[in-house]
Amino acid sequence: MWTSILIAVVVLLALAVVFGGLLGFAAERFRVEGNPLVDQIDSLLPQTQCGQCGYPGCRPYAESIANGGPINKCPPGGETTIKALADLLDVEPEPLDAEHGVEQAKRVAVIREDECIGCTKCIQACPVDAILGAAKHMHTVIESECTGCDLCVEPCPVDCIDMVTLEPDIRSWTWTPPTSGVIATDRQGAGV
């Protein structure tokens, strides 16, 4: 009785080990090399998934850049993103393509909650699921999840969504860059 149980356990264990080894080998043998460049580019994009670049999200845009597409189509990323992309791809930075929008300070959507009728249209429009609510109940925006992509403003039938510019807090505040001409040699250089 005990030996048969033992045999059963050992046989199953051996089978599992053999199959596990086989799968491990196959995972190594049939490994798919994703394009590492796409991952790198994707990590530089702001992940707003707003579609202002004309692609259905940040990853498709990253794929298009990896295939040699223009790098200046991302308004939420703005100058910073273009510079980072130019560094990564070793190309000249270009000014933002105005056709796709202009760079704005970081904004978040805010729902005027007493005016919300609970139609869920903004929830469906939100690419990052940052809006909370249910049908016929008030909706609200999770501020930390909102990427400020504007996509929820258009569908709202009562226009109760505002885009509010975020005041810089202790984490987002940066030094204002010095105006040129502070250093004496720069002024001389400009004159030459």
Partner: protein, 193 residues
């Protein structure tokens, strides 16, 4: 030779796994929305079913039976099927990214396709030998593919037909599947196995 032919005819038409034995209904309803996906799913299932049928036959005959462990067959077959599906997924992902994207979630779901386990267990019940197991698995898969593709073609037409509101979607799909099943019952008596 005739008996092999009989096995094929029996599994494809007379004892069709989906419409007569009612195994593997979930992918039958789930993947039949578009002809293209249905064909991809048929291909993947055919490959997995045949391979799983062979592998589980081998595992049973050369491992479980000599050791007197026939009671472990269900769990062993599930293990075998899971491994075969995983393996297929890796190969498909490597060789055909397009097919991989078309099949999506349905490829791993073959693991829980009851037709696959059903074939493995029925092979043992019917005392099939090696060649018969291969044919039985392949025939079951071919039958599955046949009705899946036929059903998908019908559903594409139903999608644009003027169906009463209460019957739209899954309901008319179920009704259609029932009618197909009735039609396939007509094959009973074609051959007797």
């Amino acid at each position: 030779m005739t008996e092999y032919l009989l096995i094929l005819v029996s599994t494809i038409l007379v004892n069709n796994f989906v419409l007569v034995q009612f195994l593997g209904l979930c992918p039958f309803m789930g993947v039949s929305g578009k002809l293209e996906t249905a064909m991809g799913m048929s291909l993947a299932t055919t490959f997995v079913l045949t391979l799983a049928s062979v592998c589980s036959y081998l595992a049973y005959t050369y491992l479980l039976e000599p050791l007197d462990l026939a009671f472990l067959r269900t769990i062993t077959f599930i293990l075998v099927i899971a491994v075969v599906v995983q393996f297929t997924e890796m190969v498909v992902r490597k060789t055909s990214p397009l097919l991989y994207r078309v099949l999506g979630i349905f490829l791993p779901l073959i693991t829980t396709n009851c037709a696959v386990l059903g074939v493995a267990l029925l092979n043992i019940n019917k005392n099939n030998n090696f060649v018969e197991s291969v044919l039985y698995g392949f025939g079951a898969a071919a039958g599955f593919s046949l009705v899946l593709v036929l059903f998908a073609a019908m559903r594409e037409r139903i999608a644009v037909a003027d169906v009463p509101v209460a019957f739209r979607g899954a309901a008319i799909g179920m009704v259609t599947a029932g009618l197909m099943s009735l039609a396939f019952l007509g094959f009973t008596g074609l051959v007797s196995v």
